[in-house]
Amino acid sequence: MADPVEKKQKMTGAFGGERLRIALLEDDEDQADLVRLWLEEAEHTISVFANGEDFLRGVRRESFDLYLLDWMLPDISGIDVLKKLRSGNKDDTPVMLATTRHEEKDIVAALEAGADDYLVKPVRRRELIARLDALCRRYGVVSDSEELDVEPYSLDLGSKTLSLRGEAISLTNREFELALFLFRQEGRAISRNHILETIWDIDSPDVSTRTVDTHISRLRKKMHVNEDNGWKLAAIYQHGYRLERITDNKKKQDQP
């Protein structure tokens, strides 16, 4: 019989929604296994880290939609991990802190350190999924909106069309999904693997990170992503890409 932890079983979750890429910091194997099961049932993908140092290394290498952190850990505490994320790396990925601590001062300390939500253990399945979904809606990781206006671009999610100053740009479905994903992650460094998991089937043996590069290059040309249109799609060495608005300050910085 396959080891449940190793088994990558995908089941149809009761809660639906878009697939999120979640990094879990949890030292207790039993709790990590269970949360993994729940999140995979809800069609999310999850990477588990058993200690703070591994977690910090992991999130430097890869990008995620959301972090779920345990507070009490054997090496550095979840709060200290959170402080490192928010200060040194300036990582603004939504964070949910899970802990047995439930006093007001603890909750305040977590929120002041940069947590976006707080979950009191023992964790309950429906509450966890609902809170994750709400957190991602709140921070625009997922959206129910039918349109996305990112001047001078406009994306119609119903018809899957993208326009530049009202002029439709011909994109394949995949290119449209890629553009939408990048706009929703505006300003964030997104790893190639994150893009692959979200836009392509990660299990497909035919898809490599080079496919991402090819599509990004094509998309950049088709969409005319450039300074004149106020956007920049930057490649990040050995990591991935970042779509960002070019502000006046940024233009000055970029000038020699």
Binding site: P4, D30, Q31, L37, P74, T100, R124
Partner: protein
Amino acid sequence: MLAKENRIAVRDPFARQLMDRYIGKRRADISALRVMENQDDFASIKRKGHNLFGSGSAYGIDAISTLGSALEKAAAQKDRKEICRLIDKLESFITHVIIT
């Protein structure tokens, strides 16, 4: 608090595997906790209690969370008598668990 027979129903086969493994590890906890108690390793008992509290109810077994919380407190107070009593209770509970 603890019945003679503790029936836990798990329908999903994958969750059932997890539950079987969880209960198996709790059986192993009993002897590990007794060793910790013999060695006055209150820090490890406290940590074990803390993890049992966090995982028990999540797996649908409130009794394990209750015992875990009590174990964590007893370890913090270095109360050997209470620790031994709680380990016995945990053993009794785990011995009578039936997963259906």
